[in-house]
Symmetry: C2
Subunit: 343 residues, 2 copies
Amino acid sequence: MDGHVTIKTIAKNTNFSLTTVSRVLNGTSEKHRISKTTQKIILEEAKKLGYIPNMAAKTLRSNRSHTVGLIVPSLSNPFFSIVASTVSKMLHNQGYVVLMSDSDNNEKEERKMLQALQAQNLVGLIAIPLGKRQNYELLNQSTIPTVFIDRFFSDFSFYSVSTDHYKSSFQLVEHLIEMGHRKIACIQGDEHVVSNTYRVDGYREALKVHGLTYQYLGGVSFTEEEGYLETKLLLQKKDRPTAILALSDTILLGVLKALKEAKISVPEEVSVVSFDNSSYLDFLEVPVTSIAQPITQIAQLAVRLLLEQIDDRGLSYREESERIILLDSTLIFRSSVADLRNR
Amino acid sequence: MDGHVTIKTIAKNTNFSLTTVSRVLNGTSEKHRISKTTQKIILEEAKKLGYIPNMAAKTLRSNRSHTVGLIVPSLSNPFFSIVASTVSKMLHNQGYVVLMSDSDNNEKEERKMLQALQAQNLVGLIAIPLGKRQNYELLNQSTIPTVFIDRFFSDFSFYSVSTDHYKSSFQLVEHLIEMGHRKIACIQGDEHVVSNTYRVDGYREALKVHGLTYQYLGGVSFTEEEGYLETKLLLQKKDRPTAILALSDTILLGVLKALKEAKISVPEEVSVVSFDNSSYLDFLEVPVTSIAQPITQIAQLAVRLLLEQIDDRGLSYREESERIILLDSTLIFRSSVADLRNR
DNA sequence: GTGAAAGCGCTAACAA
DNA sequence: TTGTTAGCGCTTTCAC
């Protein structure tokens, strides 16, 4: 017998039964009034042998895994990786183990991962879904407590936690308008993603409320390349905007690249604002005004809601207004917006 | 009976034995010459019932989990999150499930996580360890195939894959020297981390080879705050450097902040170079020359080595030269280095 | 206070 | 080509 230690080994060595060993090792000693001496003997033997419980056995027997699934569109996106980092840390602190899946922005992959996760007797799932609801429909019927982050499907029974994208976007555009901008273009990410569409809605609404007619919407994905290409296209137009709203910092970098190539100065000729507030925004050639999402707050809240559900096992019906939680963002002013009010 | 489907359900419904069902569902039909008809019946029933295998049972029975552990110092660091992203994707493609742990740059957490992971019957582990070897010593005795990324312990029997930090650093410093710099300061990260110490070694060696005596080494962690503080301190000195080597992009941001506050212009007054080559470097006030690590290559190689080990189950002895794999980096030239040769 | 025994869902000898 | 059976490590009734 090599280093393979089970409760059986411990039982044999200490002459106690499997039951007793199991109880001691699981902290249910009190409940069964197991003597201090016994506890000590067993605990010491376990330590001496370097006993490590077999989770598969525990899970199989108890049908409860202590494993939480986490599925994100792409870890290489800083927003998602910070969420993942916070979520995983909090969950670990609560004694859970985290199964991480990177769906690589691919619906098919996401589907596969969701299936793989289901096989793992998860006690809960935190998901930043891709755009389409379909993949999550099976889940919606199941009893696995689930919390969505950043994106959601309005008729699902799960909680979701995200920034109030609509409001944030509205504010951001309103700021531009207050600064005298009348022609504002928007470069979006993936239009299947609710967080994106809400931002677009906010953009449109702000224009409308202020009676502006100029409107330009481009872009198909949250990437630097797209930001670059869309800006190139935008600059072809004869009626150029005075401000560009980039719906993510990745897009922003592309926008800046195109602007630089065209030797258009920011903010003198074109103002620029973005979503995400990455730490490097302060150090760009011209620091960019941006919406800061309360990332850790979002992650923390999501974990709390998940744990609550896991604990009371009750997926009781909740009103939509209660299920969809929107947090306020912060507008960080920097120097990428020109003041056009005196011109 | 609610939606709880096991092979037993399928066996009952189709009047085949558990064995046959198990075989069909595991793709070992061929080996046992199970008839096409039987296969079809079972497969269809499984599909109809939405059968999802219970991994805990599989794992317990076969003592083989298809789960790979991944432990990283912090997902909020882009370098690590890109590694994690690539690793997790590749592993998923091979049918593995990834247990992710963020050790939060904390030795104690790392230890806990390593223990938690051991309980999961992992078939393999990929780790970006924190500095200290101690936590991994238990592992070194075990038979879990392990591959280290970025950092390693020289007398361990595991593979490790990383950039050739020493060489990269040497090159970078040599570049500064070639540009006429004679006083080069270095701001490091955590000195317990091999990747850091090798970079420092490269720095020192380059100075030595070129007979330079000015040397300045500061810093204790890979953070923006540290970069900032250390630069503040550095600027107090009466004998200022003409160039600063930041051992990461996070440190770099801090350096730039301090420089800006002190109204010291880059590169006219002080040149700056860094490690990591984050995508935003191009867009900084002055684009920063930097070492680009072959991140995805590293991740891919690590996964390949892990899978190899898992497959032949042989942790045969390997020479150190064979185990520690160093990849070349690329020096990306931008405009943060002043040419001092004519001055 | 402690123990015996059943069984979670699945796989793999061994049999037929 | 298919089936019987034992058992992976653990928890949990039920019993004493």
